[in-house]
């Protein structure tokens, strides 16, 4: 899991890069969570990830990293399951 507490501060230190200026107004704290290999509707298993960001700086904090990881992992398992279910049902429709 990658966690950036304060994107603007990290950008000032050269540790974070905005893709365009507008992002500075709404991208202030961000988490990227790797789901592992998940089922896709068309190509079998592929890498999956969840991205969560906020316009509130320091919404996600390193001090709470373990707690956040546990919460997102709980949801991640269910998201993986629903992606697999979608892949299964989509394949059934195509056959």
């Amino acid at each position: 899991m990658i966690l950036v507490e304060n994107c603007q501060e990290s950008a000032a230190k050269g540790e974070f890069v905005y893709m365009h200026q507008d992002q500075k107004t709404y991208l202030k704290s961000i988490i990227a969570y790797y789901l592992g290999n998940v089922f896709s509707d068309s190509t079998g298993e592929v890498a999956g990830a969840i991205s969560i960001d906020s316009d509130c700086p320091n919404l996600f904090q390193q001090a709470e990293c373990d707690k956040l990881r546990r919460v997102i992992a709980e949801f991640g398992q269910r998201i993986r399951f629903h992606l697999a279910l979608m892949a299964l049902l989509t394949k059934k429709e195509e056959s």
Partner: protein, 146 residues
Amino acid sequence: MDVLQKEDGKRLKEELARAKEIAEHLARLHTPFGTIVGKKTGRVHTAIEGPHAYSIKCVKEALAPWLDLPELLLSLATVLSHQRKQEGIMLNVRIGVYLCRDGVMCPIYGMDLNNLGSNPFKSYATHQHAFRMTQPAGKEADAALV
């Protein structure tokens, strides 16, 4: 003796407060899961009682993961922003699921807590190069990121 009792009392109070916080947190976490399962159960019951029960079409309509996935994302965004909103802070949370297709992490579902109908992936459309995987995906990445 009094000092020891006071310290014990203080420690117990702290432990109680921590246990209460964890219990509330778990309840907040599991409530949306229960709601989603409840809705799915309702759809399954409706399908069983319907005229096309036991058909593939019927099963698809009942399981309908495309209805549950947005709810899961919305719930996760709500759980993560709950504490700050309780403190009266106005904020937005955006959340998305990405899948790797042809070496690029493509957004397949997205949610903007303050604007549920909008597409939160505008940057992807104009900056696809930034979403290209530079590390190996699959088992090697799994091992590296545990």
